[in-house]
């Protein structure tokens, strides 16, 4: 016997309570008043990821994941598929927007030290998002099969094959040995798997952020229409920046040399990845050996993971002026590191890269504990 209440509900609502979920999480969800526009970043990241999944799905209909064919298939998409150039440009520039949003998200989390206390899980999830995004971004870069993509893949696969032991086994599992005609098909599969994983991680971030948000004691507002209006405005501004880049600077932050086909007989003069991989590539390239490079990258990411412990301030204490100043300097340091890594190799850039990396580690391992401990007194 169905209860009378179940009978009054519509057919779908009684089986799948979408309306109740909408009321609980959007229309009647009570939230604090003074959230800035940049608090919409997780939502923008989710939107960018869905957009990239859709444009990537269209590209995958025409893309041929095989060495020697991949570059030509992308050229075919750009030149011969109706509006293929637009979808291809959506995908590459969408990546730029996504990375910009994630870098900004991490910057805001460090600046506001939101990794402290209950925010630690959100911080770890954001780092997980960042790391998976770096891998997905690299795989997408490799799938372009241009001159620098080709050598990035071959160097990585060869380094993986040389590693030996447990790390070598992982590399072998991913690359299947040194790069050959079939490697790109594997890379395409991992690109898709990791992209789907990113959707799950950003979903977890949005849920976890709400759970640990401080309770609103006085004068809350409903999410709808107040924050839906704010989200809409943020999305439009995000889309405006995106449109300007897509239509007037479609190759922003890319290495020009990657717009020629990969050539097994010719290594390009400048083997730099797109802008979003430059800092991590510089950290990985600073140690001459393969294993050393892997350890350097892991160390560069591990200091971010260790931030809740490196910050010695008391729980609930607000961040001080010096700490915030140092975070801004850190952001400039990472940008300078990317610029130095993108420049043609020379003695000066080699020294600058080492200095900027040294400052990066100094910031987390020495300056953060010192300033947070002194300023919270």
């Amino acid at each position: 016997m169905a209860t009378p209440q179940a009978q009054t509900k519509p057919w779908l609502e009684s089986r799948l309570p979408l309306g109740a979920a909408w009321r609980a999480n959007v229309s009647h969800y009570q939230t604090a008043r003074d959230q800035p526009y940049l608090a919409t970043l997780p939502g923008l990241i989710l939107g960018a990821l869905i957009f990239l999944a859709l444009s990537g799905a269209v590209l995958s209909l025409f893309y041929v994941a095989a060495e020697g064919s991949a570059f030509h298939s992308i050229q075919f998409i750009i030149r011969s598929v109706n509006f293929g150039w637009l979808v291809q440009s959506f995908h590459t520039t969408g990546t730029t927007m996504l990375f910009a949003a994630v870098y900004l998200l991490l910057f805001r989390a460090i600046l506001g030290s939101s990794y402290k206390g209950q925010g630690d899980l959100v911080w770890f999830l954001e780092l997980k998002l960042f790391i998976i995004l770096l891998l997905t971004g690299w795989l997408g870069y490799v799938l372009a099969d241009g001159a620098t993509s080709y050598w990035s893949l071959h160097n990585a696969a060869l380094a993986g094959a040389r590693l030996g032991g447990f790390p070598g086994a992982i590399a072998d599992w991913i690359f299947g040995g040194p790069a050959g005609p079939g490697t790109l098909a594997r890379m395409a599969v991992f690109h898709v798997i990791l992209a789907l994983l990113l959707l799950a991680v950003i979903g977890a971030i949005i849920v976890a952020k709400r759970v640990v948000a401080p309770p609103v004691h006085r004068n809350p507002v409903a999410f709808h229409p107040y924050y839906t209006a704010q989200y809409f405005a943020a999305f439009v501004i995000f889309a405006l920046i995106f449109a300007i880049l897509v239509f007037f600077a479609p190759h922003l932050g890319e290495n020009h040399l990657n717009l020629a086909a990969g050539n097994p007989l010719m290594v390009p003069a400048l083997l730099t990845p797109p802008w979003y991989l430059l800092p991590i590539a510089a950290i990985g390239g600073v140690v001459p050996t393969t294993l050393g490079g892997v350890i350097a990258v892991i160390a560069g990411l591990a200091v971010l993971y260790a931030l809740p412990w490196l910050d010695r301030s008391k729980p609930g204490a607000s961040t001080g002026f010096l700490y915030k100043l140092l975070v801004f300097i850190l952001a400039l340091d990472v940008i300078a590191l990317a610029l130095a890594a993108a420049a043609p190799p020379s003695l000066v850039t080699a020294i600058l890269i080492k200095l900027f990396i040294a400052w990066y580690f100094l910031h987390f391992l020495v300056l953060t504990p010192l300033t947070s401990a002194t300023e919270s007194k």
């Binding site: 637009l86 405005a233 717009l259």
Partner: protein
């Protein structure tokens, strides 16, 4: 009366031929496609294609391009069919749906012909070089006698624009190597400028559509952004 008519006719012909000629884009070198709102000059592209087909195509491939793509230069179907049928492929005359002819059966044949220096594919040469249009132009007019302290490699030429200054390609362009249908004087610099314009189109064939859609999309989104922010503010004003 007759004299006046003759002078008028001569003036009209002079004016018309003058209009048909290219504007002076060489001093200083510039291309119509440059800048945020630049678009392609189809007359320059057609002249550049003539130079490409007469000179470049004998040694360089442009395998990403099809003859059908030439309709973007303002050629009609019959003209494209005529252009393609003049190209002899191993299988017979080319058609509009064939890719631009590769002069070599394989890279090894090209390497054997030129002592290992394989002429690069020109499909994306402009976008694959920083400031590519200007680079192609500078390279094509950059040949000079080698300075006294430079010893050239065997079968290499001194070129001020090429990285390392020693290039295996012999100077490809000279004055009046082609004769332009629109009456433009075919100086080597004009040919270089036109072929640079053509190769810019070859690298980025969607530039015109991209900027046109981009302008509309940007204006629309600016309007929508103003509207969205105004709406948001109005909604928040009503919250107490």
């Amino acid at each position: 009366m007759r004299r006046t008519l003759l002078v008028t006719a001569a003036l009209a012909v002079a004016l018309l031929t003058h209009q048909a000629r290219a504007e002076d884009t060489l001093n200083p070198p510039h291309w119509q496609s440059e800048g945020s709102f630049g678009s392609y000059d189809k007359a320059a592209l057609q002249r550049g294609f003539l130079v490409y087909q007469t000179v470049c195509a004998s040694c360089h491939a442009a395998g990403e391009l099809h003859y059908r793509d030439l309709d973007a230069l303002g050629f009609d179907t019959a003209q494209i069919a005529a252009i393609a049928s003049n190209v002899k492929l191993p299988t017979g005359p080319a058609t509009a749906d064939d890719r631009f002819k590769n002069p070599y059966p394989d890279p090894a044949a090209a390497a054997a012909l030129f002592g290992g220096a394989i002429p690069p594919d020109l499909s994306t040469i402009v976008s694959a070089r920083p400031n590519g249009t200007r680079y192609v132009y500078d390279l094509l007019i950059g040949y000079a006698p080698a300075p006294g302290d430079v010893t050239l490699l065997p079968s290499h030429y001194y070129n001020t624009a090429y990285p390392g200054q020693q290039i295996a390609m012999p100077p490809p362009l000279k004055d009046n190597q082609v004769s332009y249908a629109d009456g433009t004087a075919a100086t080597a610099a004009q040919e270089a400028s036109d072929v640079a314009a053509f190769l810019t189109w070859a690298s980025d064939p969607n530039l015109d559509a991209r900027k046109e859609i981009g302008l509309r999309a940007t204006l629309f989104l600016i309007f929508l952004a103003i509207l969205a922010i105004a709406t948001k503010r109005k909604i928040w004003r009503e919250s107490v």
